[in-house]
Symmetry: C2
Subunit: 384 residues, 2 copies
Amino acid sequence: MRKVYIVGVGLVKVGRHFDKGLRELFAEAALKAIDDTKGVEVEALIVGNMCSSSLCEQSNLGVLLADYSGLIGKPAYKVEAACGSGGVALFTGYTLVSSGLFNVVMVGGVEKLTEYPTRTVTSALAQASDAEYELYFGASFTGLNALIMRYYMERYGITRDEISEWPVLMHENALSNPYAQLRFRITKDQVNKSQVIADPIRLYDASPISDGAAAVILASEDIARKITDTPVEIAGLGMATDKLYLASRSRLDLFEATVKASKMAYSMAGISPRDVDVAEVHDAFSILGLINIEDLGFVSERGKAAKLLCEGRFRPGDKPTVNPSGGLKARGHPVGATGVYQVAEVAMQLRGDFPGVKVSNANIGLAQSIGGVGSIVTVIILKR
Amino acid sequence: MRKVYIVGVGLVKVGRHFDKGLRELFAEAALKAIDDTKGVEVEALIVGNMCSSSLCEQSNLGVLLADYSGLIGKPAYKVEAACGSGGVALFTGYTLVSSGLFNVVMVGGVEKLTEYPTRTVTSALAQASDAEYELYFGASFTGLNALIMRYYMERYGITRDEISEWPVLMHENALSNPYAQLRFRITKDQVNKSQVIADPIRLYDASPISDGAAAVILASEDIARKITDTPVEIAGLGMATDKLYLASRSRLDLFEATVKASKMAYSMAGISPRDVDVAEVHDAFSILGLINIEDLGFVSERGKAAKLLCEGRFRPGDKPTVNPSGGLKARGHPVGATGVYQVAEVAMQLRGDFPGVKVSNANIGLAQSIGGVGSIVTVIILKR
């Protein structure tokens, strides 16, 4: 199998971009990524996106974005795995290069959510769960995650106050990230008293509705060595799925798909969770952040993530540092693009040029992306 | 690059399946394909689909279909390139196996269109073109194809009567195909006098609205040799794109994406158009069938496809035989599944077990799939 490297990244600030549509948002990220490689010729484009068909009346998105990024003529298409689309796009781009069919592939993600009524957007996002057995009966996406949070808190005796540590840290981390959407401090008290969205999930437990676009450029080893002194190797990948319909799962306090996908990725990279210096994990809700770091093997005992966090673990300076970007919670969550943001952020940490909270001397990084309520997970391991 | 083979196929009859949703339709095709391999263990699933998000409120389709096909836990996701989603899924599945990451991958396609009001469906299908520059101004998908038909007829002096030869042949071919939707004969006179949909496109020029699902199983060489005596090699693939916005193209009488994609595929397979015994091409409208066989190099002079057809070319017995299945026109067009149907049909022709019009002693076959108005094209070449 040919080795694959990240040779360029381009990000748009996550936020509300009322003046930009899908094509303008993505072109900005794509052109930045091409600039970052000093103009390498891209041979194909894979785009992660969830809601262009349900919200923007735009299918065939790969072609549109290729055109606006100067790549028309080249193979270009969309992959979709709900909120996990970006990680899946990266996985697909990897296979295009490692198969030997292409030498240079752009993997992008884009999402445009903020200009629609909240109810329209939450309906579109709820498509990540089972339309006939969950949506039809009125289960919202936040509601399903709330069931998990309630169960986890009761099973492991975790308090509201302990869980609130997560979003407080995320907002702290996002302060210096120029691409983050929510760059302000919050206190535990603010989290604890914020509006209930779906009990026990409160406003500050939830990632915001975001617009955004991100792109990374992948290349084969020989090309990577030619165009950059700081190529970042994709050393391991894992992907796994779990039943979409939450009620058919055997456990709700963990995501088996993360456990499986991370085992695949660790094994392929030849490392253990202990070796990871920096990780970006999919904290669409506070509870997911906690479950994720347990599923990824960063916490030795189930149910202890919040306690360790309160004791000071996972912050800048610790190994692993988790979500120095501010995570989905505070960097923001432009759904289908989020997985690509994560990979770009981790790559920048390894190159040493991430413009926010820096993880010094990071050699190994990890990005975990989730689609649905833990129903599809990708884990990608990068090495300097 | 590792060689990749088709080792199993499974098809559902194209038609109106009011009693089946996406999951039931797909599971039927998937289980048939697994049966066809006598139960090989599938390691990952790639699904082509266009309209699940816009019509069925279901994103994250890969996970849902993996669950209902007994594949849950395995990597599973959706790819989308409008009407070309099936071909793109095949392309993606190929890279998963050729990269060495997986040995056995199922590529599926599914679409559920018939239970929605026609206006809703045509709006969803129109998302294959540019939402902001075409849809917004009321250009329907059929309307855009009608512009191409008008231009082609005027440029090359083709008559209505000559074009009608295409759908007549397609209905003839579909008669014996048990998976076809429109199994009845039509006459040129019926075509010429059928209802105008978007002048000059008439009812019998257009493929029907269809439900359907198809699956093929791909495997590496060593596994293919173990489980079947009739493995079919994927000898060549090509994919190319063209500007989505039709008015920005330089030519309307041909699709540059088909020309490019077929050159890539012929070159990879080491063959020329002359070597093709059987081809399934994307005739969503009569005019596309004619343009496609010119773009693929089966016609030596531009504008002569209809005349050659009227002289008896491309029928059963000729080389290449085109659309022995009946094509999109008469087999039907379950959009995101169509590209997978085509590949399955061509594979069966090479194995000698296609249950409709047979192409005897076929060694080389080709499947061409289009997304949008020629804006993304895949060409896949199979060898016995």
